[in-house]
């Protein structure tokens, strides 16, 4: 009973948390698309891509038209020529397939900036910036017109869907952005460090236990304590 109660509380808590988180995401996304003035130019890679995949251009973003659950699903981000020195929080654009950061005086990009960018397969960076996750995380790294182009994100897990040596026991390795992987619990496992398996059969355990306690208590009272005298 108590387990159910606490779990329900937890669910409510998670729901509220999600609401807040989702709202902040919305704001973030719009901020990313307005990080710099103007819209995505047609001639750039992102512009071509957006045209091919029939997306809508909103500021510096290309939004997908096919995603009904999330109307602001970013599939392309073009921040070229934006005078960016530091690239900090791009998490709102984690669904992007293509990102262009060329022609910016960027000093360096933190490794974790692109953590969770699972769909990213094409990236344009200033020449002196290495591809996120290093060259080993990409199928092809080239320099074109003074820009570094990172193509085709490699799957860091040996084989998706199998228990990988990268991940601890009871968890599966899944790609989680360039150079990153995620360890999610395997089937039936859940909880912290995926240590728990299945649901505890509370009724099957406590039902018979409670019943036998009552029966034994009653039997013993009748045979033993009924005629007992207090000393």
């Amino acid at each position: 009973m108590k387990a159910g109660c606490s779990q329900r509380k937890l669910e409510v808590f998670v729901f509220i948390f999600n609401l807040c988180f989702y709202a902040s995401c919305q704001v973030n996304k719009l901020q990313i698309c307005r990080l710099c003035s103007g819209t995505v130019p047609n001639a750039t890679e992102v512009g071509h891509f957006c045209f091919k995949s029939a997306g809508t251009i909103d500021g510096r973003c290309c939004l997908s038209n096919y995603n009904t659950t999330d109307p602001e699903h970013i599939i392309g981000l073009d921040l070229s020529n934006c005078s960016l020195v530091h690239v900090e929080d791009l998490q709102g654009a984690s669904t992007a397939v293509i990102i262009d950061l060329s022609h910016n005086p960027i000093v360096n990009i933190s490794d974790t900036t692109f953590q969770g960018f699972i769909d990213l397969i094409y990236m344009i960076l200033p020449e002196d910036i290495v591809c996120p996750g290093g060259n080993t995380s990409w199928d092809k790294v080239s320099v074109k017109d003074g820009n570094r182009v990172c193509q085709g994100q490699k799957n860091i897990c040996n084989q998706t869907g199998q228990l990988s040596t990268n991940c601890p026991e009871n968890s599966l390795c899944a790609p989680y952005g360039p150079g990153f992987f995620e360890c999610s619990c395997a089937d039936y496992y859940h909880g912290y460090k995926c240590l728990r398996k299945g649901e505890f059969p509370a009724l099957q355990v406590f039902g018979p236990l409670g019943a036998s306690t009552v029966v034994i208590s009653f039997l013993l009272w009748v045979t033993q304590r009924r005629k007992a005298k207090s000393l």
Binding site: A3, F180, C183, E199
Partner: protein, 500 residues
Amino acid sequence: MPPPCCGYLSQYTHHHLVAFLLTFFSYVLLHASRKTFSNVKVSISAQWTPSVQNDSAPAFSPGETWQNNHLFADEKEATLFLGALDSIFLFSYAVGLYLSGVIGDRVNLRYVLCFGLCGSAIVEFVFGTLTEWLRIYNVYLYCVLWVLNGLLQSAVWPCVVAVMGNWFGKTGRGFVFGLWSACASVGNILGAVLASSVLKYGYEYAFLVTSVVQFAGGIVVFFGLLTSPKEVGLSLESDTGLSPVETDTDSHRPLMSDEEDEGELYGRQNQSIQQLDEPPAEAPQAVGFIQACCLPGVLCYSLAYACLKLVNYSFFFWLPFYLSNNYGWKEAEADRLSVWYDVGGIIGGTVQGLISDFMGKRAPVLALSLAVAMGSLVGYSHSPNDQLINAVLLATTGFFIGGPSNMISSAISADLGRQEALRGSQEALATVTGIVDGTGSIGAAAGQYLVSLIESGLGWMWVFYFFIVMTGGSIVFIFPLLFSELRAMWRDRRALRRQL
């Protein structure tokens, strides 16, 4: 003439059987929940720590699954804390034993026993289950709860021994108590089975199941336990203190079991039932703590038990670790092998109890067994890397160390609490049991710390030397009793010869 064993058993009613089983299972459940704690240690320390990674590799994501719990930086620190919790528990248990024995002799034993069982079940539930459900991981909370658990659990042992002492007189005490003191070992096995069968659902369910079962045990005890034969109008077993069986005409009676005798026995019982219809005699007064300490034999046996429980509990806590550490055997194999020590202890306690019943003396049996134990410890420390030989040696060591240990903590405690010096006018059983077991627990707690210290500093061989010295120490403490008992035996024999 029927075989003597039937006469031996005919003195017992179904009330005796129920009292035996209820006290037995009370302690089984208690020890099962103790074993649960030592069996879920790995899971708990995993829950309290973030995942370990090589320095070069990034931390596992998502963080809420792998990195969020930071009670301890790594599993080593968590293990240290769990070891500290063990020591805290043993110390508060020892302190609690001194107190609860005194309380047990003054308040109804059934209430104290029930309170101890249910109270510690609730504390274990809060410790293992509630903190996990609410995600409260706090070192101080854990410590406070475990101190409380030690105090509550300590209420149980003096009470169950006192109830057993009330029901089973000196005649068959050594054997019955030897059999009965298997409860700790049975509890270990039950705890291991319960914990391993629900551990996959999460360690909190291991705590939940054992604490709920323990609570149910407390309820059954409340409704079913008769603390003394007097409660149903049976007379107390004829208790003549520490005099030997041969010269004790009263305790000869059940052993002979002639029909006349049985008739007389039943007549006596009926008589006592009639007597109890009259207003009962004034309840006996409980002895004070100091007074109980000064009873003959209490101090000597307490100190001897401190040395012996140190060795015995060190085997309980460290044996699987030693086996997997020294021989490189797998943890599951080591766990399975260490059961043989318990088995040896059960058999040893029963057989030695039976021998001491027939001799009418306990100290000579103890001293002899302990002397052999020193030899078997030397033998065990030189055991070859072979599981079969190791198991045999282990069972032998258990027979000679666990046996005396079980005997002192149960049969001898009951002897001491019902001895002649009290003349049956005072309640001392629980108090004396508390003193003996409490002193023993202090020894065990100190041993926990000393063994790890000696092991890390000097190696396992010195741990065994330490055990041998401690066993020798317990012989030294028993020596005065041995001397006086042997002298009494000698005197009796001479008197008997003179009569002839």
